[in-house]
């Protein structure tokens, strides 16, 4: 099983912090092997073609932007990427 490369894009607004926490919680709950990085640099964030933060990137693909998905959605997204 390959390690999931997860990035949370967000300069530190409230929603970005919420998404970061929710993602870590979901990864822990599912017992996934993943590296989670929080990206705060604007140039890097924008290069993912994201215009509203927070964004969630799994293995280089943006899977959500502009909102905080619910915990069950995050789990679904992680499991889909895992498969």
């Amino acid at each position: 099983m390959a390690t999931l490369d997860i990035k949370v894009l967000g300069p530190g607004c409230r929603n970005c912090v919420t998404l970061d926490k929710a993602t870590r919680a979901a990864v822990a709950e599912l017992g996934l092997d993943a590296s989670i990085e929080k990206v705060e640099d604007y140039a890097q964030i924008a290069s993912y073609n994201i215009m509203s933060t927070p964004g969630l990137v799994i293995d280089g693909t943006v899977v959500s932007s502009g909102r905080v998905p619910s915990p069950s959605e995050i789990k679904d997204l992680l499991l889909a990427a895992q498969a």
Partner: protein, 349 residues
């Protein structure tokens, strides 16, 4: 957000829950009208002629009223706005020149869901995709300035005429300011990395592919976020309002900042820059000051300055805009707001 996971998924059941919530909301709004009379004068037998009692009564009634209005307005608007996104706006603005582009950008700025914390990624996303800087600025100015939640509150508190004037003048400021900025060849004052940013991959549009349940989730999440962020402003605003309502003679404000004082408008605009709040937080205070006899133009200018010109947002934008452009942005927007303040004072008795 976990509350949302407990909602039913079928449309019929979801509509039932919605109808129940609406009925509860209406009941609470209706009960609020007489609940405090009953509690304070009926149960506690307080003297309704006493000024302290009356001030407290005004505060609790107004606080609950504004809370209910805010929750209702934010929910409905966020739900509707979940069908719109910055990504969609960028697609609509692509290839538009200044002029038409400014008008379109200002209009889209009003209806696109947007948080000022996303101002920088949005700016980069627009400019890197070829939208002119002036057009982008029209969007960034209109977005906080003409705020739908403010429109909803203004409608219920002030009536449609003042609301219409607010919307039209706010749009005019955003259009003209963006157009003027475009005339300065502002591209030279944008940090280089913005143009060098390569956009990888297809942008995903957050407004598409959501279920009704997810949109309801977004809307209720927004209600709790804004209420949690705004309630201290409401306590201060409505508290000041209650005190003004009961204790400060009308002549005090009209003599300090009435229509005869030409410096009042620029002064309140200046005062608004270091203050930062969204329109929802500032409107209750505006309402009580209006009740105390302050002219509406001065008050709207104050509100516009608080929401559109804020130090935290300027500090964020400094990452992508050089000081010259930031200066022009502040100067042009402030001038527009001051003119609107004078205009309102002149045409509204």
């Amino acid at each position: 957000m976990s509350l949302v996971d407990t909602l039913p998924s079928s449309k019929g059941k979801l509509a039932l829950v919605g109808a129940g919530a609406l009925a509860l909301w209406g009941l609470a709004y209706w009960v609020n009208e007489w609940l405090w009379d009953w509690v304070m004068y009926g149960v506690l037998k307080l003297d309704s002629a006493n000024r302290v009692v009356e001030t407290v009564h005004f505060f609790v009634y107004d606080f609950l009223k504004i809370m209910l209005l805010l929750a209702g307005i934010i929910f409905v608007i966020t739900f509707l706005r979940s069908y719109m996104s910055v990504e969609r706006t960028r697609a609509l603005l692509g290839g538009k020149r200044s002029g038409v582009g400014n008008v379109l950008a200002a209009g889209l700025g009003v209806i696109t869901p947007f948080c000022s914390c996303s101002a920088v990624p949005a700016f980069i996303g627009f400019v890197a995709a070829g939208v002119p800087v002036g057009v982008t600025m029209s969007f960034l100015i209109a977005s906080p300035l003409v705020n739908e939640i403010a429109i909803g509150l203004l409608l219920t508190l002030f009536g449609w005429q003042i609301t219409l004037l607010y919307v039209v003048s706010g749009l005019a400021i955003a259009i003209v300011a963006g157009w003027v900025i475009g005339k300065f060849k502002p591209e030279r004052w944008v940090e280089k990395f913005v143009f060098e940013t390569k956009l990888h991959g297809e942008a995903i549009d957050p407004s598409r592919g959501l279920t009704i349940k997810q949109r309801v989730g977004i809307a209720s999440g927004e209600v709790s976020t804004i209420i949690r962020k705004t309630w201290p402003y409401l306590v201060v605003g409505i508290g000041l309002g209650a005190i003004i309502h009961g204790w400060v003679p009308e002549s005090f404000f009209t003599s300090v900042a009435g229509k005869d004082n030409l410096f009042a408008v620029p002064l309140v605009v200046l005062l608004g820059v270091p203050l930062y709040s969204n329109a929802a937080g500032i409107l209750p205070l505006v309402e009580s000051l209006y009740g105390a006899g302050l002219p509406i133009g001065t008050l709207l200018a104050f509100m516009m300055s608080v929401v559109a010109l804020s130090l935290p947002e300027l500090i964020l934008l400094k990452r992508v805009l050089k000081p010259q452009l930031l200066g022009i942005f502040v100067g042009v927007t402030a001038t527009g707001i001051i003119l609107v303040g004078y205009l309102f004072n002149a045409i509204i008795p």
